[in-house]
Symmetry: C2
């Protein structure tokens, strides 16, 4: 099931991020104060290293194919309190102090809808969905 390389990656103390075919790892950002998941995004090697070096969250946007400092347009930055790697080092968890809102829709978290199942029908309902900013004003769409 595992070989010595996998074992070193899982049990060792060297930083060996396991990038996917697109050169990315998955990053989960949670609110250091509440534990809420704020967003799920991706980091390439450069985003990961800039995040570690600066203590601020950097990501890689798959849709824009570009490195991106969180909050560079909106001012809603993320200060990293702690960064952790998962067992196989293909996912990163950062606990952050979020300035304002993490979501591009203006909400604190991207996870502003919960999944309900009633009578076999699956649907969503809003929860914690108040907007902290107007995305049209901030991003000048």
């Amino acid at each position: 099931m595992s070989n010595s390389h996998d074992s070193e990656r899982e049990e060792g103390l060297s930083f060996q991020p396991k990038f996917d075919a697109s050169g990315l790892v998955t990053c989960v950002a949670t609110d250091a104060a509440t534990g809420d998941v704020l967003m799920v995004a991706h980091m390439n090697d450069e985003a990961l290293r800039k995040t570690v070096a600066s203590g601020e969250a950097w990501y890689f946007s798959r849709s824009r194919n570009a490195l991106w400092r969180k909050g560079e347009s909106s001012g809603h930055t993320q200060r990293v309190v702690e960064m952790r790697m998962d067992c196989d080092q293909d996912a990163v968890w950062i606990r952050v102090e979020q300035v304002g809102a993490a979501c591009h829709t203006g909400r604190r978290s991207c996870f502003y809808r919960k999944v309900d199942c009633k009578g076999g029908m699956v649907s969503l309902s809003f929860v914690d969905a108040a907007r902290l900013f107007d995305p049209n004003a901030v991003y000048r769409k």
Copy 2:
């Protein structure tokens, strides 16, 4: 930047998971009691629907190419307290009651190492890394 389909997916209340080219969404499981991230994994359409219907976490293993009920080998199941979708519906957050350990290495969470940066060198250190079970005994490698 967005069209009406994206807008419906972001602002509507219909459940429209946005699967990637492999038919998967990313799922983050957090401990409902502590807010700690337990694991990051993937769900296909069937795993998502079984999770919603049963209230227990099901995933799709990319390495084994198989649907998988969390805890089916180890007994360490996850009861879903709440499920949320993110803005573009390509990521799911489940808050769970974890029986025992989430990680196949025997730890409570897959995120048992934190990233340190000292003098420009990036390395890992163990944190919350006690094993709750012996993986060799549980999985009979």
